[in-house]
Subunit: 275 residues, 2 copies
């Protein structure tokens, strides 16, 4: 039950309809001020051009999505991935975003050992922390759904994100993003949200469709699926989160096929009735 002033629109929700300049030109008309920017779109639009457009606007950029993907078993590939993640942190600072959404990366098929893979990610995160701190931006650890553990992120639970925060000891620089779609199934959800507390620096909403047809690109609009989103919203607020509710919907078969202004109107309606 939130208004447009509390909504953050993640660019991915209208990823296939608008370029970044179009996104910036159109979203504000809907009363939405908070946005998250997709990195591929930023590259296509150009960093300098985007920085100018943002300076001429009153948008608040919540995050740049996404950086990370640091699971490579090969040490040279790992170093290259760290360098790329540092560039993402530089861009995060350049566009004035609060944080970089950190996606760990999937399993490298040359090393199927999940324990070793996760240890590599944690080591590489430790390398990124001083760079983020120097740039004045945060790293948001975002657990993704276990169904993409192999391909997209070995950070599969909030518990593991909390464990990594404990290990990194950098509470001023490393936070956690809670995404309803990624964590709703977790028996430890309430415990780990409470444990995360002020670490929670982003709250992403979308719904899990009963007839989901794709492991990554078939998310549902809030209210169309199985997740008790209002309950999770109450939990993150009880844990101390006061930031915007960020709508992040990957939807190849439905929302990406629609008029983007219509999509945003539905987003705002559902934020009032189903969040």
């Amino acid at each position: 039950m939130i208004g447009a002033d509390r909504v953050c629109l993640n660019q991915v929700t209208v990823l296939q309809q608008w370029t970044l300049p179009e996104f910036l030109a159109n979203v504000r008309r809907h009363g939405i001020r908070s946005i998250s920017i997709w990195r591929d779109k930023l590259k296509a639009a150009g960093l300098d051009d985007t920085v100018r457009r943002l300076a001429d606007s009153d948008y608040a950029v919540t995050s740049l999505c996404a950086g990370g993907l640091v699971t490579a078993a090969d040490p040279a590939a790992g170093r290259a991935a760290i360098d790329e993640a540092k560039r993402a942190l530089d861009e995060t600072a350049a566009i004035g975003a609060g944080c970089l959404m950190f996606v760990a990366g999937g399993l490298d098929p040359v090393d199927k050992d999940m324990g070793r893979t996760r240890a590599r990610v944690l080591d590489r995160l430790a390398d990124l922390v001083p760079h983020a701190k120097a740039r004045g931006v945060k790293i948001a650890l975002e657990p993704l759904h276990p169904m993409v553990a192999g391909t997209r992120s070995v950070l599969s639970t909030l518990k593991l994100a909390n464990d990594w925060c404990d290990a990194l000891g950098a509470e001023d620089t490393v936070g956690i993003a809670v995404d309803t779609y990624a964590v709703w199934w977790d028996p430890e959800l309430d415990t780990e949200i409470a444990r995360a507390g002020r670490r929670i620096i982003a709250f992403h909403v979308s719904d899990f469709l009963a007839d989901t047809t794709d492991l990554r690109l078939d998310r549902g609009m809030m209210g169309d699926g199985l997740i008790d989103i209002p309950a999770m919203h109450r939990s993150v607020e009880a844990a101390g989160y006061t930031g915007p509710v960020e709508v992040e919907i990957f939807s190849q078969r439905n929302w990406w096929q629609r008029d983007p202004d219509d999509v945003i109107r539905v987003v705002l309606e559902r934020c009032r009735t189903a969040v």
Copy 2:
């Protein structure tokens, strides 16, 4: 690295090719003695006919798959589900299977509260335990992958299965099935396998394909995907499991389209090289 004498073939692996009589007539030729039977196929073949065929064979029936689905929010629907699960336990005993593979059921859309839903399942399990004990069969709690938490099973982790075993206090009747496909992503996997110990009464293998196209019916043959199956095999053996390795592959687009004898030959080859 196991031979046919250590393999259990779950009927679902050749579900669409053979009736139950055909399955029973053909599997033994491959040197496989241990099987698990699919309940729909049992119904189609008839219980009495199947009992006779099994009596004339030397098959060892590991389990009947599956019973449960006891998540309904409506009390009358819940009681009907318990009665149906009791019939599944009766059938488990009738065919001389060691256990009923218990699948919790998905979320009932009229109650999206996962905590309440899981509490209902545990209550109903407690109702089933005396019935299983009276029939001399076990209930195998099988966590399924979180990607089917909404539609098929709210029992999503080994930790929750262990917690339920603790709560039920019926170690002689309630055990746990560890399925590589369902749990491989879990950061708590080694801890919870060790905790499960002798509770592990089944070990199911299949692989998670990197390009999975379906949330339920697109499992891979061992060695074709991302799971370190030999490592998990060593873990369950270290925990005390000495039973067969059960091959359970749902595969609409691949293995269900092939000659079933060829499928079994590949199963046996991969059990030697990739388990």
